[in-house]
Amino acid sequence: MRMSLRAEHLCFAYTAEQPILNNLSFELQAGELHFIVGANGSGKSTLLQCLAQLLPVAANTVFSESRVAYLPQTIAPCQDFSVLQVIELGAQLAEGCDIKGLMGQLKIDHLAQRTLSQLSGGERQRVLVAAVLAEQPKFLLLDEPSSSLDIHHQVELFRLLKTFCSKGVGIAVVCHDWNIASRYADRISLVHNSTIIKCGKPQEVITSENLQQLFGSSVVVTRLQQTPVVMPAHE
């Protein structure tokens, strides 16, 4: 049986009147790149925090047999840390991490001695992703890891994540870029109204009907060589 990170009948609310997650079930399998998409405020980030067991959910709702690493959407790191120190902090949690190799893969090896305050937003984001990869987890939860990256670095990042998936790491990514999800996801979970309304391959999830349910008629779905492409609708 393949290893997986599972959450069953997950419920979470900050106040009793407004549930953020309502009886939600989710499974991240080893070796898959699983995108979690949905509108703003639909509960995607909360789902990741529950999976990372950072929010108080009932003990029997999240199951994980191995270590899970998590990169939050917004953090306020100490800006005096050098790039190398940041990655070493991640590597403290795992043995035998090839820090140099990892920095080379993310193309940040030339930044090793710079402090975070001396980096651009995109460079900083790549450093944080490198630090979380240095933890060598079995399951990785990334909350909008590509939000500050240009298209070139987004592609590079997801190609790299794919190589980690091929080594057996299960990666869940919250992302707002539907076309990136369409291109790189093994599976996509669509979060709406505090629960997952659809989970499957990109072709099954990224459909006009599903997007209409989320965003009304503001976007349309076309196909490019069988790959769904999401475009803004004409006025």
Partner: protein, 315 residues
Amino acid sequence: MNKLLLLALLAAFSIATIWMAPHFGAAEYSEQIRALRLPRATLAWFSGGALAVAGLLMQTLLRNDLATPFTLGVASSASFGAFVCFAFPAIAATIWAPPLLGFICAIATIALIIKLGSSNLGPNGILLVGITINFVFGAALMIVRHLAPPYRMTKLEHWLMGSIETSSYEPAWVVATVALLCLTIIWMKRHDLDQYSFDIKVAQARGVNVTKLMNVGLITSGLLTAAVVTQCGPIAFIGLLVPHALRPFIGHSHKYMLPACWLLGSGFLVFADTLSRSLLVFGRSSDIPVGIITALVGGPAFLLIVLRKSKKTPH
């Protein structure tokens, strides 16, 4: 510079100061006077180290470069407890009354901060709580000062400036015992402190129990501060200056910062204390309270560090 080499240099400096301290000052060839100076230097050594480590802890836990061991009001409350005994000798039935009452006040303050901090206040909230407590005890100190008999004022003023005046080893052993206990606990948390100092959310995601770490840090830094303040009074600047002086060379690793802070803090206070009792003012020994010397030396040094750092940081 290699961190281990720097630690070795700091160790040499720290040991050299305590080794040399009894030989400085008037009547330097008298064995008896030298024997009396060693307990004083020992107390300065332990107190300087304790204050520097407490300052490092505060800056890490509150994620604030301006934090010092005195920021959260623990020192003010300990000062208040000791001060009451000094001001009203009827209360101070024994020589142990001031430190004892100081410690009791400090522990009550730590408990109050932890209790208030348990409602998810975060570092900034805890900082505000501490600053408020600091003001309250500052005002209480003023009341005691106002009500104290005039003939006690000289001693009170002298103590409030932070001074190391002892001819016995007991005060040093009090600080040493507390320091040994606290340092052992802090050392076990050094990796958690590294993660926390980078980012709180990331530390949580990496399995650090942030609430527990904060409580352990508040208790240990509070006890270290209380131990020093009840024995020597509030000695300024060491807790602020020493971590800032070392960070550019050592970075944020607590594995190196903890021993480095201890060594530089202890050496610096012994040096300052030796200077304070050796300085001749108008041709006679002045015995200026060491808190004045640490502030006079530490202030400009801290300013240099800040200016140097601001040149390196992009705006």
